[in-house]
Symmetry: C2
Subunit: 293 residues, 2 copies
Amino acid sequence: MLNLAQVETFVAVVEQGGFHEAARHLGVSQPTVTQHIKKLEADLVRPLIVRAHGSAGTTSHGAAFLPFARTLLRIAGRARAALDSRGLVIGASSNIGVYLLQPLVKAFAEALPDFGPVDLRIAGNPDIARRLEDSEVDIGLMEWWDDRPGFEAQVWREEPVVVIVPPDHPWAGRASVDKAELLAEPLIGGEPGTGTARLLERELGIAPEALKAGPQLGSTEAVKQAVRAGLGVSLTLESAVRDETASGALHALSVRERPLAKSLYAILADNLPAASPARAFGEFLRPAAPAGV
Amino acid sequence: MLNLAQVETFVAVVEQGGFHEAARHLGVSQPTVTQHIKKLEADLVRPLIVRAHGSAGTTSHGAAFLPFARTLLRIAGRARAALDSRGLVIGASSNIGVYLLQPLVKAFAEALPDFGPVDLRIAGNPDIARRLEDSEVDIGLMEWWDDRPGFEAQVWREEPVVVIVPPDHPWAGRASVDKAELLAEPLIGGEPGTGTARLLERELGIAPEALKAGPQLGSTEAVKQAVRAGLGVSLTLESAVRDETASGALHALSVRERPLAKSLYAILADNLPAASPARAFGEFLRPAAPAGV
DNA sequence: ACACGTTACGGCAACCGTAAGGATT
DNA sequence: AATCCTTACGGTTGCCGTAACGTGT
């Protein structure tokens, strides 16, 4: 099989008109150029270059080979460019993508531009999982992970989860509520697959059936509006409601028995090359600020 | 730079749907396939293949790379084919090409068809020398050689040279003439650059000026016709007049002082790869029948 | 147990750079 | 002498096959 490095050297010799210039142009030593040409000629079993003092030209075989050589290099370059231009595709679940990740994506793209453009795709958690399986995204930032094989998960953050109520709610002046109070209020559900139900069950021992379920809405934004409208209370990532708590549009409380926090995971296929953009982004996330910022 | 062997393995894995089948198809061991894919993924810094039990598929990166991979292999194959189809170009001086070489060319093409088609180009000796310099021919069969650098010469044959006279010539019944007799007859010249004058000077000590020169014709065929027409005698390769001496159209004599013979040379560029068609033909010529056949 | 792919390892060749050696101008 | 290419050589790396090892069916 042809060696493209040798082919590149051949083209350089022809274009630069000499071994010495070709070596300089390619950034290799000059004997390497000699060797490349010799190897290529041996491989093709044809002389390609006529060595004359001061001017290296092609033989008739070399002339016949030259257009193929240029084409091969062009295609190889395009292949690499096509992959590079795809850049890094990050998949993030809605809350993470909307409220947490965007500044980090920007910082990564600026700090390590060599990995090419960064594309952030926001979708529901189950959809991100599917896209990981299908290699549609290179790294997934999710609110749960089920340790399915073929992937490695790292806990990215432990993000606080708070109860939100409208400003005119009886709890509005308090810092926390207890489990019993929570069970008595209609609990508005947000996006499915975010693991909130699992969190309640694991941390507070609340079975899904025990809840007084309010409307099940599809997005965190919808939940916020519902809570403000007085349809019930809800649980969200603290970072998702920071603007509203600051402005007083919503009031956030912790749970007295146990401050809730949700683990956010970064998921990568476990066969990624060490220097891949996805791994680089995973490493970039590691020194992220501790939970709660 | 991309490694085309790895690219070929990648395509094989995709087409065969598995590492095992790809290895069998390529004729390599299965771990080699693993290694090729890993190296290629590391090189492109993207995962290309999704390893699943029973079915290997591409990642999105792999799918993007696949058409480039196929194109690269196709171009590489075409480049090789383009060079192979050029085959071997043999340059031969007129006498050699017309009277001696054709059966050998046929035998070579049949004995070693792997070297591709064989093209025989017949021209004058100086033109063959020029074509060798310009790499327009891969091997030259000539009647002289001046040991210019960059080429290797091997003596192919010592081919007898005879004096030819018409059947009604006074010498027609004899087997030889001597130098003095030769000098007295008009000597018809053939194709320039065949080294006949050099031969006379070296072997018989005849200076060019001492000759009673007849017309200088451009080709051996013209010389034969001139001799038959009685314009003079001439010197030719014995093999060039075998038909005519057999039919009685011409009579051939040797020179008494010293039987004349001309060295025929095979000339190759000295930088040819060992397995090149030109070298193969050169080797093919070596065991040729001894001079005089 | 079987089928598939990966890891480990050892031998061999490829590759590259430095240094020295022609050859030509 | 200067330029250009080739040869020689050693250290490193790449490459491939055999064998042993996971892993999922």
